[in-house]
């Protein structure tokens, strides 16, 4: 994993990410519904583990490698002052662990040049987006099972409040 420092490259990747995420302040980690629909994506929220647990890494990395991906970019979806906001990652367990170490507390979106998949990480959950076969491989379980697991995380935290934002994220992305 290495920080991207060339301004033009950073701008390029920020623009790529801006096209698939909301522009509203504090909500830049959410995917745009028109992007999801246009690209026939499914989006599934997964409980965050700063950002990926070892189990996540052991599932995501081979899924992406088997689909032919060798590297990706991580772009911040929040302002981070002087901290690097753009990184190049190899699709390897080591780079995903390093991403956790350096960026695990911050909002970042992982994707690749063609944006055929993306994972948008925030402090409570990660949004996995892509077409169904790849997404299922990245999740390691059927999509409905992943949604069920996220609801099992979100519902106790909501304590019956239908306006709870984690619960609302689960309900919103269940439409896609």
């Amino acid at each position: 994993m290495k920080a991207i420092t060339e301004a033009r490259e950073i701008e390029k990747y920020k623009k790529l990410v801006a096209e698939l995420t909301l522009s509203n302040e504090h909500e830049e980690y959410h995917f745009r519904s028109d992007w999801i629909l246009k690209h026939a994506w499914k989006v599934v929220p997964v409980e965050d583990g700063d950002h990926f647990t070892e189990e996540d890494i052991a599932t995501i990395v081979p899924a992406l490698q088997n689909a032919g991906y060798r590297d990706c970019v991580a772009v911040a979806t929040e302002p981070l002052g002087p901290m690097p906001s753009c990184f190049q990652l190899a699709i390897t367990a080591d780079d995903f662990r390093r991403f956790n170490r350096e960026c695990g507390l911050f909002r970042f979106l992982l994707t690749e040049e063609t944006r055929s998949w993306a994972i948008s990480c925030n402090e409570w959950y990660n949004l996995f987006g892509g077409e169904e076969p790849l997404l299922k491989a990245m999740l390691g379980v059927p999509i409905e099972e992943a949604r069920r697991r996220f609801l099992a995380f979100a519902e106790p935290l909501a304590k019956g409040d239908p306006a709870d934002l984690i619960l609302k994220a689960a309900q919103y992305y269940a439409h896609f």
């Binding site: 504090h26 980690y29 409980e47 965050d48 583990g49 700063d50 647990t53 929040e78 302002p79 981070l80 002052g81 002087p82 901290m83 662990r97 390093r98 956790n100 170490r101 350096e102 695990g104 507390l105 911050f106 925030n122 402090e123 409570w124 959950y125 995380f153 106790p156 935290l157 709870d164 934002l165 984690i166 994220a169």
Partner: protein, 95 residues
């Protein structure tokens, strides 16, 4: 709790354990005022990074990040273990 000398365990005093499988989730009352008080009580210099404040804690306690508005709609103080190992401590501050 002495300002600037508290440990993560100190600020967890009185917090309610909310479970969580990938982070240890706690809640406390007091909103952003209490979150800020707890963050400032942690030993280390803070750094502003955009909308968040960050402290690298001494003694292998890891890194703390304070958010006024997290994706659950509340102020949140999250502490990642040193070296990035999970699982982190996340405190949600209710109004």
């Amino acid at each position: 709790m002495q300002a600037g000398k508290a440990t993560v365990q100190d600020i967890l005093q009185g917090a309610v354990d909310e479970g969580g499988s990938r982070a240890q989730i706690f809640s406390k009352p007091g909103g952003f005022a209490q979150a800020t008080k707890d963050f400032e009580a942690l030993e280390a210099q803070s750094q502003n990074l955009g909308r968040v404040q960050v402290k690298d804690l001494p003694g292998g306690q890891g890194r703390a990040v304070l958010r006024n508005l997290s994706s659950d709609g509340r102020p949140t103080l999250k502490i990642q273990p040193a070296g990035g190992g999970y699982k982190s401590v996340a405190i949600r501050y209710n109004p």
